[in-house]
Every structure is written in C-alpha cells, then in structure tokens.
Symmetry: C2
Subunit: 205 residues, 2 copies
DNA sequence: GACTGAATAGTCAGAGTCAACTAATCTGAG
DNA sequence: CTCAGATTAGTTGACTCTGACTATTCAGTC
C-alpha cells in the first residue's frame, strides 16, 4: 500500500544520505562518523554493508562519484556526493518512517507467542531475569544521555524513545509475572495442564 | 557473549520446531497451521523461506525426514519429525529469547535519530499522523483480542505486549510533539536554526 | 631503524531472503 | 462435462547481508 518499495532498502542508506547532505565524503569517513556518533545504536551497521549500500545508492542515482583521489600510497578513496534525487529520497523516506508505523517483528513477540512451551515456573524465572536485564539496559541509556550534557535533547530523542519502550516492557513483564503467579487468578495451574497435554492453541474444544 | 550463534537463525524455525513437538508434519501443513493461527503476525513468514528453514533444520539435525508419501498424483509430501536435539534447541532458544533481551533496530529509532533533517512543522504534522495510525493499530489488535473469546489469554499474551508497546509509543509521540510546539520550552525555533545551519550533531561548540 | 599494534580502506564468498514462477488437483457453476 | 479459479506443494533465481580476509600506512618504542 503506502510503503512503495525503496530502491535501496537498508536503513543504513538513510544515515549515509543524511551525512552526505552536509558535504561529499568518502566511504571510510562515513564509517568513522557513524561510529563516532554512535549511530550503530540506531542503525544495523557493519563495515562491510556500508560499501554495499553506497554502491546501491550510486546505482540508484542517489549519490554520485565525485572524485577518486589518492593520498600517499593508501588505496584510492572515492568521494561521493548526494544528488538531488538523493535529497528527495532522504526526505520522502524519512516522512514515511515518521508518519507511517509499520508492522515489525521484535524477538520478544515471537518468544511470547511460544512461551507456553516452557513450564510455568521456568517461564517466571526467565521473566524475572529479563526484567533485571531490561533495568540494566535502561540504566546504561540513562548514563549515556546524562553523559551527553551540552548536546541538545533533540539529538537524543531516539534514546528517550528507547527508554519509553523499556519502561513499558518492564511494566508488562511485571504484570505478566503477576498473572502467572497470583494464587487468586493465577494461570499457573492451567498453564501446567496445557503443558502436560497438547500444545495446540485450543481453537476447537 | 550470551548469544551463541544458532545453527538456524531464522525465528520461523522456532515456530516450526514448536509445531513439530505436537507431531510430525509436512511442510505445507506447517504453512497452513502458521497461517491459520495468524503466526505471521509474530514471525516474519513467507512461503518460500519455510522450505529453506526446514532444510536448514534437517541439515542441523533438529528435524528428521520421516517418510515421503505420495497421494494421488500430487507432488511428494515429505513428512518431518522433530528430533531430541530439536527439542533441546527449542527449549534453549526460547529460554534465551525470554531471559535475555537483545538490542534491536526498530525503524522509528532510525527515523528519530535523523528527524532533525526535517523542518519542525513538518515533523509535527507527521508525528500527528503517526499517532492516528498507532491508534488504529491498537484498535485492530483490541478487536482481534476481543474476537478471540474462549482462547485462554495466555495464547494472546504477545498481542497484549504489542498493545503495551503501542500505548508507550503513543504517549511518547504526544510528549515529543509537546516539546516541539510548547511556546514556553519549545524546541521549534532552535530546531529551525539547526535546520537552516549545519546538520552536524554539535559535539563541538 | 626495525618491529608492533592500531587505524585506514576495501573486497569477497557463502549464506540467507523474498517474490515470482510452475504445476498439479480440487471445487463448484453453468 | 468442462472450464475458471482456488488451493496445494514446491522450486528457482536475483538480490542482499554478514563476517572474515587482505593489504597498506601511521605512531610509538626499544
């Protein structure tokens, strides 16, 4: 529907286009910038795919090879500049990403959909462990945000978002543990029954 | 660290193993079950990769070819059964997924990290649009959950989780819009300035 | 002035993913 | 009876991704 397929699908390409709006760069410089600004927290980044993505962008006409210079006896450094089509793609893509949430597949959703395959007491133990880890992640991000005094909060908004999601997940996990263990309305016994019997989702009696 | 690399990485394999604990099945039956139970909401599923994943599982020794039968003149249907190694893998993988959250890359995180590249008023318009869409998604899931009366809530827990995340995101977006537009502490003007000037993340004065 | 480790710069094979295609069989309308 | 369309069942090929590998240069140090 809304999401026409992009010529270059990898989100890393979006980051590349964004850095190139500032000025032409060669691949390694992009790599360094991405690492320095810790964009690897937001974009799936590995050195290899960067070159791939730049090639794809070039083929699609979103960036253009500007010059091939050689400094000392180092390998050639090809400098790329963003094109008008590239600027258009950047804006359009960003608009789509911000304006239209799309269905994603977090690992925990998959895990939850099959969690009945574990015995209930083990599930509870693991959920408690998850909760601790989530708390640690939250603390790490907080530290990171606090450590970046002087940076305008606009440039940390993605970390605030992560924190919001983490808080929601922590709360959810706590509620879920409650539902399993609460002796009043507890699911524990029924769960154990499911577990002993068939693992079918019970759409027939 | 904790996450030793799985022989079969695709989460679809986890769903397959789970269905095979109930009994041996042939690929197409798995495909039908996955669709019927709407597991395509939790697992990235397309017909083609299913056959791939089953081959990988067979190579890794997690499932074994049980029989190759032929009914009428239809193509062969190879029936697969889970092995002991497969059952172990299923439990171990599930434990890891539940107990250890891992760093993921939601599209919106990427979008937020670059959102300063849009003019602030456009960003606000898009965020409002997102908020509406998120509300629609939430309503859809609610309807789906309500429509599934009779199914034990344990089997809908992944949808409850989605709702929790959606609510958190809706709240976050509202706060963010507030920060941009609030004339008291509003970021709007500064944003516009950033936008006019360099798009550098401002790590130096 | 030669050695070591880190940084620079890029390539590549293997594995994985996805959409499109083939091809048979079943179902029901006319 | 026969034809269209849905369903069943699986294959293929183009594209993408990732981790590992190569090779040069620079900074420090003994």
């Amino acid at each position: 529907m809304a999401a026409a397929k992009r010529k270059v699908g990898n989100l890393l390409a979006l980051a590349v286009l964004s850095y190139l709006t500032v000025g032409p760069k060669h691949p390694y410089e992009l790599s360094r910038l991405l690492r320095e600004h810790q964009d690897d927290r937001s974009f799936r980044f590995n050195h290899g795919s960067l070159y791939m993505v730049i090639q794809q962008l070039a083929k699609a006409g979103f960036v253009a090879e500007q010059a091939t210079m050689r400094e000392g006896q180092r390998p050639e450094r090809t400098v790329y500049a963003i094109t008008d089509a590239g600027r258009a793609e950047l804006r359009d893509w960003l608009r789509e990403l911000v304006g239209s949430p799309d269905h994603e597949y977090p690992h925990f959703v998959a895990a939850l959909s099959l969690i009945a395959a574990l015995p209930p007491d083990e599930a509870v133990a693991l959920l408690r462990q998850r909760s601790l880890r989530l708390g640690e992640q939250r603390a790490e991000i907080s530290a990171l945000v606090d450590g970046a005094a002087g940076v305008h909060p606009l440039f940390l908004v993605e970390e605030e978002y992560r924190i919001a999601l983490l808080d929601a997940e922590i709360a959810f996990v706590a509620r879920f543990i409650g539902q399993i263990t609460d002796p009043e309305t507890g699911w524990g016994p029924q769960w154990a029954a499911f577990h002993a019997g068939s693992l079918d989702k019970g759409d027939e009696s």
